[in-house]
Symmetry: C2
């Protein structure tokens, strides 16, 4: 019987776990809330306990584990497994790899959360068969993972794939959380789309969005897509604007790294075909023809499992 | 005594050659005009003859050669050494590697001209010590070579590094040779700068550039930089505009691949510090702080030798 790989996708709200076979099949998966209190000091003990408890439930010992692969929303040194900072977890200067290895007595490997999701899609999802892959995750923010020749691109200090902070509105762009302005995620994330809706609403008194906002007291990206699919003019304009900037950014990235596949994931990617069609239209407009022709656009397949499967891949291939 | 590496930098006007040691030192270098007549049919025989003649002159036999590494301005399959198209050479569907191997009886390896220049700078020039490198060549056009983890990035169909065709003016941009509009090279190449000068000249009747144009009947990018260095307002505006778009493009590429060094080469890079200072200013403005801090900006060191040295590196490392 083969060893088990543990994939962990550590987020600011929940932590996802999987026991996964060496072929990438999920044996068990579960989640726990992430306890970010007390500067995140409980997170590592909680991860260790949760893995050991689940092993117990499965009547297995730690010796069945080949290792643990963790993705975290953090600035880190992947080689040493040291986390410099993870704002959403409350962490600063934490030796994640060593501390968890000490508790579990199995090897641990860490990477960025967007990167392990990309690797997961490459291994078992929409990226299968592609060794040059761009993954874009559109949710609260816009994240990215880049794979070239089958390897994650980290860059010189772990910042590769920061696609949400490509500047797409160089002049008079909206202020971004990162301190710059005009970043892709100010106009193309779920948050960005809602902001476009709130700010433009008064000019479209007949829009569904204005009615929904009055009714619920808020707007979501889901509501924007629903209204767009019902042909609401204002909602269509927002989706078009967001897709325009996504298509522009994707074209510029693709002219740079020439991927064979581009996988769109995250909550917003569930909106359906309208988004993908519009992104594709603008990608074509702004990319060299050979670059556009070389790249398939696809929606991510693994959903919330991408991270744990990518974490397991790290254990299989990088430990 | 070590073997000799042959580096060949095949251009539309001249072909550069070098016999190079396994340490990257140039033993002999020379150039011949590129004969593009007759659909470029003389190019391969001319390259073979030139190498054999120089061997003769050096009293050496072909057995001293380890191999030949060629960079060409072409769409190609690097693995098979097949060229699909090289517009400036007149080539279509040509088996460059096999034909030259047949004539020389030594192994041949081919790559894109911008890529071998980047590899040359990594091995012996401004990129020494950096394994994550972005090289930008600013001349008639804007070219690029990307190195990640010490390896050239080719992309899925050899189009990686097409930095000149990043769209930096999405709306109402100038038409580019590639068929798109608003490409970086329409505003930041030598040609693009001259175009900005010719089109804006009437609004600046006092500019040096208008006088020079009247005097010589033309403008060059060198004249634009000379005038800018003499504080000519219009010339300064052109240099600022070109640098702005270069800084924006570099920032977006760097947010994507997070290089440790960015090397600016090509004729325009000889203009001096003004260009580099302005590029750096806008790079900083549009990049994430950690990305900007992680990347040194440097001017290429090898000049016209970058290609032959990079070709030799291919022979040393990839044959």
């Amino acid at each position: 019987m083969g060893k088990w790989l543990v994939g962990v996708d550590l987020g600011g709200t929940t932590t996802k776990f999987g026991f996964i076979t060496e072929n990438g099949d999920i044996l068990y998966k579960w989640t726990i809330p992430t306890d970010v209190s007390n500067a995140g000091r409980n997170i590592i003990p909680n991860i260790a306990d949760s893995i050991l408890n689940k092993l117990n439930e499965s009547n297995q010992k730690a010796s069945i584990l080949k290792g643990v692969g963790i993705g975290a929303p953090a600035f880190m040194d992947m080689d040493s497994g040291f986390v410099y900072e993870a704002v959403n977890l409350g962490w600063q200067n934490l030796d994640l790899k060593s501390e968890l290895e000490h508790k579990l007595m199995v090897p641990v490997i860490i990477d960025n959360d967007a990167n392990i999701a990309a690797i997961g899609e490459m291994w078992k999802g929409a990226g299968v068969g592609s060794k040059d892959l761009l993954c874009i995750t559109i949710g609260t923010g816009v994240g990215g993972g880049i794979i070239i020749n089958g390897e994650i691109v980290h860059g010189t200090n772990g910042m590769a794939g920061e696609i949400g902070h490509l500047t797409v509105v160089p002049e008079n762009g909206l202020l971004c959380n990162c301190g710059k302005s005009g970043c892709l995620e100010t106009v193309s994330s779920a948050t960005g789309m809602v902001r476009l809706a709130m700010e433009g609403m008064e000019a479209y008194p007949e829009s569904q969005l204005k009615k929904r906002n009055k009714q619920y007291g808020y707007i979501t990206s889901k509501l924007i897509f629903e209204a767009a699919n019902e042909n609401d003019q204002f909602a269509l304009e927002i989706v078009n604007t967001s897709s325009y900037y996504l298509g522009l950014a994707i074209a510029n990235i693709a002219n740079t790294i020439n991927p064979s596949r581009i996988v769109i994931g995250g909550g917003v990617s569930k909106a359906g075909t309208l988004l993908l069609e519009l992104i594709s239209k603008y990608f074509k407009q702004f990319a060299l023809p050979r670059v556009f022709e070389g790249a398939d656009l696809a929606i991510a397949k693994l959903g919330n499992d991408a991270g744990i499967i990518g974490g397991a891949w790290l254990v299989n291939n990088k430990l």
